[in-house]
């Protein structure tokens, strides 16, 4: 996508991206910063956050916290609330719930701890972020939320029942909150990646990759940049009449 493109509502406004230090997160932060937004970049790894700030051109504010720590999440939103009056930061208009955990385990080998971890990071944390973000957006009657879900959540995947359940929960919340928050001018959408080359999928062997590609119409993996472009589209005004939508970025994947 060419930056900055005209009419970007992100210009001069602020957004929060979770999982900013991951493969897809870095691309999202870079896209949003280039479009003129001040990006609060959330992550747990301070060193990785600092290098992100150095690498990305534009305004990136690192926020070092664990998305499952409810008090830390409140603190982050307090910071954003306080800082949005700074003209250099601007009104808070966007949230990208991108932090995620994927733990593969068949039903027989899975345990409640793995289920809880994935539900906590992929769903409960995203839900709390939407709750607090929407309260800041309501004031200006303007905002957009994009949740990074998964084709595994949409279609299911053997050995990924806990992960798919957590992502399907987020898809459900996306569709419901799109309806609930529409009267306040807040849009809620999701992107559903298929197989994207990032640290999350780095452990896949060539054999496993070939198996995945055989089920992808475009016969290859996607890139973090392609996911980030879809996120930018849904966040910005070019998708101003789109809400409650789950946009696949999957090369037409069949799980």
């Amino acid at each position: 996508m060419a930056f900055p493109y005209s009419g970007s509502i992100l210009q001069g406004h602020s957004v929060l991206v979770t999982g900013a230090t991951g493969g897809i997160g870095r691309a999202i932060v870079s896209n949003l910063a280039q479009s003129g937004a001040t990006v609060f970049a959330g992550g747990r790894n301070k060193v990785a956050l600092d290098s992100l700030v150095e690498e990305v051109a534009g305004k990136v504010v690192p926020v070092d916290y664990d998305v499952t720590d409810e008090n830390a999440v409140k603190e982050v939103f307090r910071t954003i609330q306080a800082r949005q009056s700074d003209p250099d930061v601007g009104n808070f208009v966007g949230l990208v719930n991108n932090a995620g955990e994927m733990k593969e385990a068949g039903l027989v080998a899975s345990n409640m701890e793995l289920l809880r971890l994935q539900m906590s990071v992929n769903f409960y944390a995203a839900y709390q972020h939407m709750q607090l973000a929407s309260r800041l957006m309501v004031r200006h009657r303007k905002g957009a939320i994009v949740n990074v879900v998964s084709q595994i959540g949409e279609q299911g995947g053997a050995g990924l029942s806990a992960y798919s359940a957590s992502k399907a929960a987020l898809t459900g919340a996306t569709k419901s909150l799109a309806k609930e928050l529409a009267p306040f001018g807040i849009r809620v959408n999701a992107v559903a990646p298929g197989f994207i080359s990032t640290p999350m999928t780095a452990h896949y062997t060539q054999l496993q990759r070939d198996d995945v590609y055989s089920r992808v119409a475009l016969k290859q993996s996607g890139t973090p940049q392609q996911v980030a472009d879809a996120v930018l589209f849904l966040l910005d005004q070019c998708a101003g009449y789109t809400t409650g939508h789950v946009l696949p970025v999957d090369g037409l994947f069949q799980a």
Binding site: Q81, S134, R135, R139
Partner: protein, 85 residues
């Protein structure tokens, strides 16, 4: 909207209710309760919470948001966050 910097907290509270719910200041008294006027429904409540948080620079807990069932109750809750009314 009145100039908020010169207003007392009590005046800011009334103004926040007026701005959020679109009602006149005469409507806003301690006895005014959630869901007793058309303007203060669940949608109005969300706007009200957002307005109070911005005006008083606080972030309310969910339990307090649920509990905020009247103007009097809003005062008690805000006091917990250090807002003297």
């Amino acid at each position: 909207m009145a100039v908020k910097s010169t207003m007392s907290n009590q005046q800011k509270l009334v103004q926040a209710f007026c701005d959020a719910l679109g009602v006149s200041s005469q409507t806003v008294n301690d006895e005014l309760q959630y869901n007793t006027i058309r303007e203060w429904d669940s949608t109005g409540h969300m706007v009200l919470v957002s307005e109070l948080e911005t005006v008083f620079n606080v972030m309310l807990d969910t339990d307090d948001i649920i509990d905020m069932s009247s103007v009097a109750k809003a005062k008690t809750i805000l006091a917990k966050y250090g807002v003297s009314l």
